[in-house]
Amino acid sequence: MTSSIGQKFETVIGLEVHLQLNTKTKIFCGCANLFGAEPNSLTCPVCLGLPGTLPVLNKAALLSAIKVALALNCSVNPRVKFDRKNYYYPDLPKGYQISQYDLPIAEHGFVMIPVPEGTKKINVKRAHLEEDAGKLVHDMVAHSSLVDYNRTGTPLIEIVTEPDLRSSQEAYDYLNILKLTLQYLNVSDCDMEKGSLRCDANISLREKGSTQLGTKTELKNLNSFRAVKASLEFEVHRQEQLLLAGERIVQETRLWNDEKQMTLSMRSKEEAHDYRYFPEPDLVPFTIDQATIEKVRESLPELPAAKFDRLRKQYQLSDYDAGIIIQDQTIADFFEKCTQHSQEIKKICNWIIGPLLQEINSRKTGLAELSLKPQDLTTLIQRVEEGVLSNLSAKEVFALMVETGQTPDAIIKDKGLAQVSDDSALEGIVQSVIGENQSVVEQIKQGKDSAIGFLVGQAMKKSQGKGNPKKFGELIKRRLQDG
């Protein structure tokens, strides 16, 4: 939304996403690519940048990068090379980062995002491979920074958009769709808390109708998509106020402060962006032939946008339902497996979106960790349809299914949860409820039909929830008519 910005300016945003690939080893050496190990326990002479060592490219990292490139509709360059990006910082043991400059893996892609008018194409300028830097800790020892080189050499893919985003909401939507697509590819755990997915934003304003870009600021330290959105909103307002006051925007890097909810100038000496790129002499160039690209293309899963469209068409799901189901590939697979056992598509969908997602969220786990089988859910739905279970008991059975992995029928039997629909068993309860609630019975006889519900409630209570409420209603009505 652009409501915070006046009529005078247009917001222009470009995003850079860094994604850590989940290869078994680092990009240029055989050290394990793992998060959370003891500091400096996953290093070797190559990733420590010791003299005389040579990097060798991890083939799996290149294949993952091609996968990402194709999923983002990029063209894959037939010839790629690596370059050195030179700067001094203690997190970079070699004094340069091996990255890609003029021949990246991929260029000219796009991602479609939803906008009020339909969809909008966000162009992806390029995606390239590079190595991650080490991790610095500043607050442990006075006057010192501590360095952990475990992360050094983790394969990264950097995905850069064109400045096509026009609001913080568009940026937020782009990030969500990008993340979902990357999750489907299974090339990264995409966990922002662990830093496996990181985002920087470039933002500038320009007068509406202008085609020239304004002076931009670069926003860093964005630890969540929410922070990306909030920082962009803050920056739109800040830049707008400056421009309206006739002042100029300073091109600089600004850090998002989550506590203060504002961006602050970094004022760092490292601001001189003079990286003196040159070809990495320790790595030979790489050619990516069409056969390799086609092989990777064939390995791509159905991507979220395609799945969304197919689920809507094939199962007549609403946009809302399909949108939730595709947020997790395993959920979408589970849904489709359920439909092989039952025609009750809408009910399956409701059970998944409601109780199942609640269980998953409250347990902070994934579907794979629950021992829930598709046919058990469809059996449960069938038992409700047959009148064996009330909706309330069904929820109880479901919780136990998730908890124990038992079948619904076993649980119904064990817990004695089957609904009683047998007239003779229910008659006695109805009789005593009517006997005990004569004043309510009088009201009903005088035409207050809604009071029947109260009697049904009382009957349910007496049956300890096992009676079939529909059946109770019928019996009560019949008895009152007769009497």
Binding site: K24, T43, L48, A61, Y89, M140, V141, D148, L283, V284
Partner: protein, 94 residues
């Protein structure tokens, strides 16, 4: 043309401390190198494939198989300054 100012700037990017007389000598040396590059630029290379590497090699890969890493104490001992398994450097942010 390369000036003494350029040389000092490049030296500062590379964290090299140059004495005044070294700046003078290096400016002359770099000037000669740049002069030679200018000469090379005049060669007609329209029929030559661009080269980014001197060896006629392509696609040298490593398979994604974990190799043993250095032990933590061995790794950090390459520096004199370390603290509880981490390398210690002068503080880099205020």
């Amino acid at each position: 043309m390369i000036t003494q100012k350029d040389v000092k700037y490049i030296a500062s990017l590379s964290r090299i401390n140059l004495k005044e007389q070294e700046v003078g000598r290096l400016t002359k040396n770099l000037e000669a190198i740049l002069h030679y590059i200018e000469k090379l630029k005049k060669v007609d290379v329209s029929q030559v494939q661009p080269t980014s590497h001197v060896f006629p090699l392509n696609n040298v890969f490593r398979e994604d198989v974990v190799q043993p890493s250095l032990h933590q104490d061995k790794a950090i001992k390459i520096s004199q300054n370390h603290h509880q398994g981490s390398f210690k450097v002068p503080k880099v942010i205020e």
